[in-house]
Symmetry: C2
Subunit: 406 residues, 2 copies
């Protein structure tokens, strides 16, 4: 069997944890399995590198920022190879260029194009544990790229797909996917199984367990994922095409505090306005989330949307640069103190009244709703960030998601 | 004009120093010149990475240690690109694989084979300052290698040779090449010019200003070097084929404390013994320095030699592993507390009595000589490390090398 195991930064933050991971990999290897290990940078080291960069240049070129950041994973993979070696198991570390992990040139937010598997296969045939840098790639110019926050999950899934791995295990610091964030909602319950689609909505809505692109890719290539803890041997949550029916209306409540709202006010009410606005942002690789268009005053229209907090400055700069020419709006407002709360569940489709029930929970808790967005299996509302933890508990209770014994 | 500038780790140790270097490069660029900058890792970061490795595995695989160490230069080059960008000058950082800088596979001590200059030329044509990682390369398998301590000098000279640069400037924390280490010998004098051969002997003997392989390469390809300070605008020392005659018997006194002596005692007195011994060491890429063979007791012979301190453990391991089979010696002794002191000078060839004068200086200072080794333009003696600073002053004075005004 070929097993891909991905460990995040906290799992390799220091010597003790590196050896914990190493021993886990050795146990798998000694069963006779082939093992690929995908690692993130140690602890907070990516943040530290970004801080170093910003000290030198508050607006570093993205190409150079990626060149800097990729050193983080290279450090963790080489140390892991040394740890495995000291446990008597042959191992080799490979970075994105050695693999080679080809991506687009969108620095900071690149997409994987294809992976050369020859070197990996050779090393596995020599019965080595192969340790690969997550999060990073190389473009057609051989320049380093990164896949965006949490991109190591995507690296793991892509490797599992390309090598037809028998399992892809994503190790994290929680036991699996919960009905809500257990730090906020005390009686949140761990799910044994969840579908790709539900996970996709949870991931992209900020459940924080899996990177959304990794789930998209897993769905596309049919890679069955297991999300489990690196700290214990518990079973974890299986993510697959169709999960066993738990007769639950919704499978989880997701909270995302890492967002900000931009409102572009007083746009001309004519065709092509929304296209132009979002096309400008897309050209700068800025991902836009919830979008809401409303009628403004005097024959104008307003468009509001949310972006990740770290894209906010870029998005504002892009909008300002087109303000006088193609956008022609009255003003651009920003709200940094918002949060998203969403409920997700395949059961929603056939059950009317789910949205009303969610809004009722918010009303009961006296929480004001700023924006609403829905899809077939998801309802999202934007509220004040100060209210969001309370809202999560209220919604979780309203749908009876908690463990019965707490 | 194309100028290659190399800056060591202390020159890029923090934000202020990075900007000092950046401003210096900008000034060169604004004269209309093409500029290539070669950088070492920041401050003590290479040592810190090695320490990290040893904490995980006291004997890390050299392939993995190189994989770890090369992150150090990648960090400094990307930060330098950001600094230049913030000063309004376009810049791009390249690591060894992007260049590509091809080497042998001797991890930790690799030799440069060839450099692809296409990418560099393209970036220079786009009027970018090109910043390149010193010290590192990639082998035929695309694995990272390092060139050994001080290897960034070699990177700079190799680039200057491959690109037919008009100048190759090696920036350091002293004003140039001195007649002795100014920290030890107070009245040491800066040389305006020195020949490759003299510099070669000074470099390999521990003057510490230039990496010896870089001088070898400069001589081979006729690259004129300038060694100068990164802290001021002083002229520095020019290293070239024939220096102007200063009518000096010797040009400098070099001290090397980074060495240890191994004595292999009681070897069989038969042909091939020395060959086998040094062949074993060469196979493990261990550089041996001063070698001395003497007659031992009862028809045996003894061979003593010096190695760099960080090769000592490797060398002993190699010798022990062949002790019972091909070496068959009585015992292996180690002396860690030695130092080398050498005098170097092209004038030596035609002046007999130089060696005697040096030994007289040692005798006057009551310093015991343990080993002696000579070449055409160099005399080296091995003494106790505790005596070496005193010895340097004594020899420097004996040959009247000091500045007249101190």
């Amino acid at each position: 069997m070929l097993i891909v195991k991905k460990f995040g930064g906290t799992s390799v933050a220091n010597k003790t944890r590196i050896f914990n991971v190493a021993r886990r990999c050795v146990a798998e290897y000694k069963k006779g399995n082939d093992v690929i290990v995908v690692l993130s940078a140690m602890g907070k080291s990516t943040d530290e590198l970004i801080e170093m960069a910003k000290e030198i240049n508050p607006k570093p070129a993205k190409r150079e920022l990626d060149m800097l950041m990729v050193t983080g994973e290279q450090i963790s993979v080489s140390l892991m190879a040394m740890a495995l070696d000291s446990l008597g198991v042959p191992a080799i570390s490979l970075n994105a260029f050695q693999v080679a992990m080809h991506t687009t040139s969108a620095y900071g937010n690149a997409r994987l194009k294809n992976i050369d598997t020859e070197r990996i296969k050779n090393e596995l045939e020599n019965r080595k544990i192969v340790i690969i840098t997550g999060f990073q790639g190389v473009d057609a110019e051989n320049d380093f790229t990164t896949l965006g926050r949490g991109g190591s999950d995507t690296t793991a899934v892509a490797l599992a797909a390309a090598l037809h791995a028998d399992a892809c295990e994503i190790y994290t610091d929680v036991d699996g996917v919960y009905t809500a964030d257990p730090r906020i909602v005390k009686n949140a319950r761990k799910l044994d199984e969840i579908t790709y689609d539900e996970m996709l909505d949870l991931a992209s809505l900020g459940a924080g367990v899996l990177h959304n692109r990794s789930v998209e890719m897993a769905k596309k290539y049919g890679v069955q994922l297991v999300v489990r803890s690196s700290l214990n041997e518990n079973e974890g949550t299986i993510v697959k095409e169709s999960a066993k029916m738990e007769r639950m209306l919704i499978s989880g409540v997701a909270v995302d505090k890492d967002c900000a709202r931009i409102a572009v006010i007083g746009l001309l009410d004519q065709p092509g306005v929304a296209f132009k606005l979002f096309n400008h942002l897309a050209h700068h690789n800025i991902n836009v989330d919830v979008i809401l268009q409303s009628i403004g005053r005097d024959g104008t229209k307003d468009i509001s949307f949310t972006v990740a907090k770290d894209s906010l400055d870029d998005a504002l700069a892009v909008l300002e640069s087109h303000r006088e020419t193609s956008l022609k709006c009255d003003k651009i407002d920003v709200d940094r103190d918002i949060a998203k709360i969403s409920i997700v569940g395949a059961g929603m489709i056939s059950n009317p009244g789910v949205a009303a029930k969610m809004f009722e929970a918010m009303y009961d808790a006296n929480i004001n709703i700023k924006m609403i967005s829905t899809s077939e299996i998801r309802i999202t509302v934007i509220i004040d960030q100060a209210d969001v933890d309370r809202a999560a508990v209220a919604v979780h209770d309203k749908f009876g998601l908690g463990s019965p014994n707490t």
